[in-house]
Amino acid sequence: MSNVSIIGAYNTKFGALIEVKDMISFKRKIDTHSFYDLIIEAGRGAIKDAGLEAKDIDAVWIGSCSPSRFVNQEHVAPIATAIDPSFRFKPMTRTECACASSSVAIYDAVYAIEAGRYKNVLVIGVEKMNLLDTPSMTATLATCSYFPEEGGRGATFPSLFAELAKAYKAHYKLSDQELRTQLAHVAALCYRNAAANPLAHVQNGPATAEAILALPETGRGSNLMIAAPLRLHDCSLVSDGAAAVVLTTTENAKATRKKVVEIAGIGHSVEYFPLSQRANKHLLEAGKNAVTKAFQEARISTADIDIAEVHDCFTINQLLTTEALGLSEHGRAGYDYAAGRFTAEDKVSVNLSGGLKAKGHPVGATGASMHALVYKQLIGEPIGLAPKKAPTIGVTFNVGGSAVTNCVSVLRRIK
């Protein structure tokens, strides 16, 4: 059990936060919520939500994936000095672990509080992706793969997760149509959940698997093949946004706050980097390892989970993470989603936020956003859909790269 709790959280609107102006020969993108604006909004919002003043914060961590390529900015942590005049001279650090950049920022902050170095820490996750054109954005994300063998040879993230999808299909002897239908059910659940989340990037996505399966193969509004078997509606979004949490010692949280959510356990497990080195691609071995560590530390089992936010960067990964958490038997998650499981009405709800598929996936912000939104659910102030029964235990499952970095947190309401 860590001795650290979350006492405040904030999530900005996720979306393509730009205006596009048609010039004669090209489109000019105008930045309406800059990388800098997003960091400041999320940081201030979380401090206020925690009932603290900025001067009470001892240190800042910022998780961000590739700001040097997205917005020409490296050395990101000092941007936080603009959050408040009292922030000048505070220690600030940026972390990077691809799409898990801000989960590892939270873990570093947990270690610092556990070590007794700091009492109150602000952790921010942020990404501004939409200023780049699509090929440049794809190339930027590909640097999060093992470049000598993958990104450098033209592999993109859809192609890497397509390998996992093909391995899953072969191992469980699914037909093309069976897998396609299962994945469409996953996407539809995320779209339906996001429709209730005012911060979500997409709030009017196709609400049923049937609607997704009925989309044309090509042309406008189609469900284009991106990297077989993954289609457009299997891929998460290219989003801008930020999220933040304030962490403190559980002792301090209990003494000063009406509602307290502890970080009951964390599991951080890293897989071999190149996908080619993994013998079993039909399941997340490192992900399962992270789940085991987090559950052991929190002394819980799968049966104790009320809600989960899982990393559906591609719909196949929602099946894999759902199985790694033990919520479905191996090879059964697709059948479970197709049978209507894991909605707000179910015993366990998955991706009430809409997930990466529909809430959006500003890569460096995603881990912090998962923690922020699960925290809000657990204190009874949900943003968007709430589960039928008030939740006590929530899990976040954030991955970086092709499920290379795996970060699993167990959050538990204790007051």
């Binding site: 800098y36 201030r44 603009a82 408040d84």
Partner: protein, 112 residues
């Protein structure tokens, strides 16, 4: 069309900030009105660069920090043969870097 670099005037206390700080470092206000920065000022310091980054197709470049007449400080290019610290300068907004379709504008100071 004449371009301006904008300062951000705090609605709480009236102080003009450059660059945009998001939060007023005097009164913690978060609402600002954009105002054009004054174009005249005093050269505080300068450096001549001979080894330039990609996208700058010139043999050398002179960068200076100027204190504008309202007290804001800004970094800009100098189009001045022999700059002297303390001299009066006037700025104009001009393209300073071109990357593909993207044009970056900045202050370019001269003595006129």
């Amino acid at each position: 069309m004449e371009r301006h670099i904008l300062g951000y005037k705090c609605r709480g206390c009236g102080r003009v900030w450059y660059p945009n700080r998001g939060v007023c470092q005097d009164c913690r206000g978060i609402e600002f009105d954009p105002v054009p920065l004054p174009q005249t000022g005093k050269l505080l310091t300068f450096t001549v660069l001979h080894n330039l980054a990609v996208d700058f197709e010139v043999p050398s470049l002179t960068l200076g920090i100027v204190e504008l007449s309202n007290g804001n400080r800004i970094t800009g290019h100098l189009k001045i043969d022999q700059p002297k610290i303390g001299m009066k300068v006037t700025g104009k907004v001009e393209p300073v870097r071109q990357v593909g379709y993207q044009t970056f504008h900045g202050m370019v100071f001269s003595t006129t």
